[in-house]
Point group: D3
Chain length 136, copies 6
């Protein structure tokens, strides 16, 4: 009797898409206006899902209050109102595409959540572009 | 050529999270303000999904008019404007967490839908907390 | 150069529509299932708007961080996960319709916000039913 | 490290549900008001998802600018502000149910997207009725 | 103490923008693809708002159950799954733009709602295009 | 018979709240994390509304295709994927709060729209914070 429980969160950040080993021309050719050296930004909407058996005592797969705190501590405090390229350690050498951000969030939370629970990250860069990562 | 067809519905209900065999202190420690003995409530948003082959005659996996009626008869009429703990038989001895409510809805609908069709329940307790149950 | 600035918030509560001076029959006739004596509940979504001149120093009509705190202190802490009829002083003798709740929220916030600023309350009882009150 | 990347799009179209080999009575019995011979219509909201490995050079599963163009060229230009039954070749002999439309969109895009990438189509006929097709 | 109370509803319909006294060329020049003679369609989302004093007995400006019924009877039953140009009397000689549809809905409901109450119609033709009419 | 017609658009941009004539301490005290010198960003959602009489020939207050083009040319092209503080002329000496951005957008569009039509700007900085400016 496995259930997936999901919690929404959000953070606002600046970023640019950029490969330092590429020329400016190549960065612009591949990433277009997303490569603007002065940065642009997004309201990232995040859904963190945890999949597991319902605990027969509590009726919970996982206490959403604890999941909310983990997301706040490890994602929102780290990313909110930040420049991802300049201020967030994980993106010093990693292009902050939505795909890569979702993998970084997965890895940050994976070690904080019991291993018998599966984890899934959905990240909306805009309401029109979003990604899902399940660690597989 | 399997397709998942989904139908949204909703009901408004009161509930509290509560284990009668626990002390008040333990209920408060585990469930926090959700254990308020005077109850609180939610606008539950429900998505019922049915997965199966497209019928070559109708072009339907399942007639959405029939699914809408089943949801109305077995979920909305049973839960809407009710106190889940006090008035709904299934929660007399079952804590009405979103997880447990989704399993109860699944079980109520499972027997009404042809067995060659898979069933999936997504239940939004709020726009920030939601669960998905597939019967597996 | 007047601008309206708006901030969203939310609270989950139980309530029933009920006039103690009416018979049960009359309460049911007027309020239908909303009068269920065991209560039902909603995810109330709240928009608080403040209208005034833009401050030439800050570029703000009002600091949204302060407005967010006022809403938290005077509305969310008072109403969230509560039974409005039983636990909230303002509804001891006032029927908690969406109309009346919006007036109560207006009155609670009006005294906390500078008088040169106009105030407007929009309250969604569900995504299909909502009310707006401007104090006029 | 597979990620699903999703892009939203939309088109507005007229249609009716109708089997030419059935009598009018049978069409009405099965499809109800959806079979109105004068047509009705929808704002179709479309989510196209592509699943694959993150390219280590770009950080992309697939360039969303290219996916956006493919959706525009092969779906929006073909379906937007059209009468699906009368003007779209694929529905000359296929009932334009949401299920069948999702399969047609899948087939149109499948040949345009690299085969090492999986494809998934979600189509909202209304905000209350939607379907998902993964080609399996 | 005036409050605006609002109720959402929806209907799906086909239409085309078209002036019969104009040539096809002029219709296409002015209305573009919206003038397609085979029709296209929309999921119209409707908000009907009623403004008035709160009744001190009920706590209501107007009973939402009655408003819901009026909308169903006079708008949804008349427009849902219809071809507005072909099947709805009011558009036989009136171009069914969102502006004109909102005025028609206002006029249909105005005579059914007590005159001490103001009326306002908001009609979403798509989630990106919408109109508001207050009868003034 | 005045109708308000509204069109949604969006742009993604970086910004910071900052007064160059203030010390860093004062900027941080007033603007908090919004003053981060490395910038943060938002998906700005914009609603441009135009109010006027319905043209009896077209049934339009204003052709939405033209309004869409004006928004694209004067707002989206100017602001999308830009750093508002660094790259947008209007904010060289104006703090890019949501209030000030809405006034700038109003002023840019006001001169492009016929004077017998009123104009209203609503700008969502996030789904929780938004502003409305009517030029009054």
């Amino acid at each position: 009797m496995k259930v997936k429980v999901s919690r929404k969160a959000h953070f606002n950040a600046a970023h640019r898409l950029f490969k330092p080993e590429w020329t400016d021309e190549k960065n612009t050719a591949v990433f277009g206006k997303c490569s603007n050296p002065n940065f642009h930004g997004h309201n990232y909407e995040l859904i963190v899902s945890v999949i597991g058996e319902i605990d027969q005592q509590t009726g919970f797969v996982m206490d959403m209050k604890i999941l909310k705190e983990l997301i706040y501590e490890h994602v929102e405090r780290a990313f909110d109102h930040k420049n991802l390229n300049v201020e967030v350690q994980e993106f010093k050498n990693l292009n902050p595409t939505a795909e890569n951000i979702s993998v970084v969030i997965y890895n940050k939370l994976r070690s904080k959540i019991a291993l018998h629970l599966d984890l899934e990250i959905t990240l909306f860069e805009t309401s029109r572009n979003f990604v899902t990562y399940t660690g597989k």
